[in-house]
């Protein structure tokens, strides 16, 4: 029982990452009809805004400590972050420690801008081009983005820890009446789950309750008619692209403490997020979120020893197997709309 609860927690956590990425992807799919292979790269860029802020906060001046030596036997250069020298040890280091949460604020304008620039610079020329061309251009873009990150940050993962206050884990089990240590769960993962719940509801509320959102939803359903009403739907779609990029970016920022970011983490998520979006059904936002959580939970269950011992290797293929089963039984995924990306 406790094992199952644990895996549900894990699944929800994994699912929230999938759901966040898929949500952004489906906004772009559904609103703009663009197959965006650069979406994983945007997620990666988000994670690297956290790394960048961490680097910025750690900008240091160098003093020579003659009493100590470096690995070559020369006097040791000691680096002191400016922030520490300005605000003193405890406050300075405290700020550096909070780099990841601070990057949330830092990343939103950046990601909005990146999304905006991408849409205006490249994507907008591809609305009326075949999906194949969209794949080629966005894939090329993804390669370029990740190579640039690689050139600046290297290929190795870069540790980007959560603030000290959120490290460690919480004993859920005791809370639910299990013995100690039965169900422990890291604080940061719980925060991630809550955070994505907030972002997802935020996006839904935005689309449901604002005029902007209503126009966009109408545009998703029937772009031409909305255009005929004299509404500049293109401009709103540009903004939607920015929002989708920001959602993916935030997913990346918050993911940084869970797994150290590296330049190709986007590609690792890319295929998976496409599977999630399609399983959810093209053009359906709730579908994408539902599919994200569903696949996350099922993936977690598949990695349980009890299941692996019956079906060896099931955790290798579970996501794809589920995708095949769902697509064969439900032609348009879980909640897909008719006629979207079917030809």
């Amino acid at each position: 029982m406790d094992a199952i609860i644990l895996q549900i927690l894990n699944g929800l956590d994994k699912g929230s990452a999938y759901a966040l990425i898929a949500l952004g992807l489906t906004l772009i799919f559904g609103t703009l009809g663009v197959v965006n292979f650069a979406h994983g790269a945007i997620f990666m860029l988000g994670a690297f805004t956290a790394v960048t802020l961490d680097r910025l906060l750690n900008m240091s001046f160098v003093t020579i400590d003659p009493t100590r030596t470096n690995f070559l036997g020369q006097p040791l250069e000691v680096k002191t972050p400016y922030i520490v020298s300005w605000f003193g040890d405890s406050i300075g280091n405290g700020i550096i420690d909070w780099a990841v949460p601070l990057s949330i604020l830092f990343s939103i304008p950046i990601m909005l801008f990146i999304g905006y620039a991408m849409e205006r610079g490249i994507i907008k020329h591809f609305y009326h081009r075949p999906h194949a061309d969209q794949i080629l251009v966005t894939f090329g873009l993804a390669i370029v983005l990740q190579e640039i990150v690689k050139a600046f940050f290297g290929a190795n993962p870069i540790p980007t820890p959560a603030p000290a206050a959120f490290r460690g884990s919480f004993d859920f089990g005791v809370w639910l009446g299990f013995p100690a240590n039965a169900i422990i769960y890291p604080y940061w993962r719980m925060i991630y789950f809550l955070f994505s719940a907030i972002v997802i509801s935020g996006v839904f509320a935005f689309l449901r309750f604002t005029t902007f959102g209503m126009v966009v939803r109408a545009g998703m359903a029937d772009r031409e008619t909305v255009g005929l009403l004299g509404i500049d739907i293109d401009k709103r779609f540009t903004i939607m692209f920015g929002i989708a990029a920001a959602v993916a970016g935030l997913a990346g920022v918050m993911y940084a403490p869970i797994n150290s970011p590296n330049y190709h983490m986007g590609m690792d998520f890319l295929v998976l997020s496409f599977v999630v979006v399609v399983v959810g059904g093209m053009g359906s936002l709730p579908g994408a979120v539902l599919a994200g959580f569903l696949l996350g939970v099922l993936e977690s269950f598949a990695s349980m020893n009890e299941i692996k011992s019956i079906l060896p290797g099931i955790d290798q293929i579970i996501i794809y197997l589920i995708a095949i089963i769902i697509l064969l039984t439900r032609p348009r995924g879980l909640m897909g709309r008719k006629g979207v990306m079917e030809d």
Partner: protein
């Protein structure tokens, strides 16, 4: 004005009868070269085949730095590095056999297909007489097989699987790096001293060949010191989030977690495990511990603070205090501004060892070089006394057990050497069950 060169690589067996009429080129006499890519001019070309894209690109970059350094030293430039401490004095700093050393580079992408394509282009296009490098066992074994067929020497880079010099060993291939068996042999006694004789361990194992050989070796040795295994769980290579594998560990009754992962897998699984708070827990009345059998400083850097206090093994570390290490670190550090990684060290050694063998053999002929390397004993390359065993082309040397440092003084100072397990403790016979099944075959000079 023009000249005709004919090469006849490969041996024809099946076709002797069937293909006599068809096999046009074969009716000409064998070519002028005595072996593949015999260097004719004043230079000799080496092929450095390292990952330059993909997750191991940084490791590849560090290997490439070391190769460039080695080439400098061989050509008599720079401070000479470990040439000065190397026990064999055959190398004079005038290239190899009087020929200036040049090199070509390629990208393995950490895929066996791409690595072989890259190595082939070095052999077919650039005339490389030796291929070296790589950062994973799959690639090493694939390229080693290719070099065997093509008739050039392969000096393996970072490859830790038992199979490289076990069931997939080849007469033209040589490995300086240690292997999974040696890691386990060195770690087991240290672990039992540090954590007690009565421990229960749980393993997470990357689900591919290297992971399995690592897991099998660890299991054998840990059970040898009286520990009991609770479970060995295989994790897909593509896993990025290990939470669902780590979560059940707490309740399994195990009090040690062994992570048979490397590279990105290792960084993520270790980070996840530490985030789950495993190391803060007491199980069975003992402190819960995590072990990473194969450490790499570059990868440890990716895991950040999470490596603190965690035991593992490594082929070499820059903080060693022997003369060879000091010379190498000085030379590398002066040129690049940071200390070399174990990958850099092993490929530097491999280049020197190859060059030295050529000098001693007096030829670049792979068979001559192989003979010179087989059974070669040397010292002064940072690992103490070392033997290139003739039976399987594996180097036998001391193994370092290291621990993540609690108080690093710099961003490079992440590991501290806990123990230097002497070579006798990690030696095994060539017919050891972990290594049996392949044979070296005969050396192939190609041509």
């Amino acid at each position: 004005m023009s000249k005709l060169i004919l090469t006849r690589r490969g041996l024809l067996k099946t076709g002797a009868v069937a293909g006599a009429g068809l096999a046009m080129p074969t009716i000409f006499a064998s070519g002028a070269a005595a072996y593949t890519n015999e260097p004719k001019g004043g230079t000799v070309t080496l092929g450095f085949n390292v990952p330059q894209s993909g997750p191991y690109a940084d490791e590849g970059a560090d290997e490439l730095r070391a190769y460039k350094l080695a080439v400098e030293h061989l050509n008599g430039e720079g401070d000479g590095g470990m040439l000065n401490t190397f026990s064999s004095k055959a190398l004079k700093g005038n290239g190899i056999l009087g020929k200036k050393v040049t090199y070509v580079t390629g990208d393995t992408q950490t895929k066996s297909d791409a690595a072989r394509a890259s190595a082939k282009s070095m052999i077919e296009k650039d005339g490389a007489v030796m291929i070296t490098g790589g950062s994973s066992s799959g690639v090493a074994i694939a390229v080693q097989g290719l070099c065997q067929d093509a008739g050039v020497i392969f000096m393996a880079g970072l490859t830790h699987s038992n199979d490289t010099t076990g069931k997939d060993k080849k007469a033209n291939g040589f490995r300086h790096f240690f292997n999974a068996y040696m890691s386990a042999a060195a770690l087991a006694p240290v672990l039992s001293n540090a954590y007690g004789k009565d421990r229960k361990f749980y393993m997470l194992t990357a689900d591919y060949t290297w992971g399995w050989t690592q897991a099998a070796s660890m299991k054998a040795f840990l059970e040898g010191v009286g520990w009991t295994m609770v479970k060995d769980v295989r994790t897909p290579l593509a896993t990025t989030d290990f939470s669902s594998y780590i979560a059940p560990v707490m309740n399994s009754g195990a009090d040690v977690l062994i992570l048979n992962h490397y590279g990105g897998n290792m960084v993520n699984s270790l980070t996840n495990a530490v985030n789950f708070g495993l190391r803060d827990k007491m199980v069975n009345g003992k402190q819960f511990e995590i072990v990473v059998p194969l450490y790499s400083r570059l990868m440890a850097k990716g895991a950040g603070e999470n490596v603190k206090g965690i035991l593992g093994s490594t082929n070499w570390h820059w903080s060693l205090q022997d003369e060879g290490t000091k010379a190498f670190v000085k030379s590398f550090g002066t040129k690049y501004g940071f200390p070399p990684s174990q990958a850099a060290h092993t490929v530097y050694c491999q280049t020197l060892l190859y060059a030295d063998a050529c000098e001693r053999a007096g030829t670049f002929n792979p068979c001559g070089v192989a003979e010179a390397l087989e059974g070669f004993e040397f010292d002064g390359l940072g690992n103490g006394k070392t033997l290139y065993r003739a039976d399987d082309h594996q180097c036998f040397k001391d193994v370092l057990v290291v621990r993540g440092k609690e108080k690093p003084t710099s961003e490079f100072d992440l590991l501290e050497v806990v123990e230097k397990t002497p070579v006798e403790k990690v030696r095994y016979e060539p017919d050891n069950p972990f290594f049996k099944g392949g044979s070296l075959g005969k050396c192939n000079p190609g041509a």
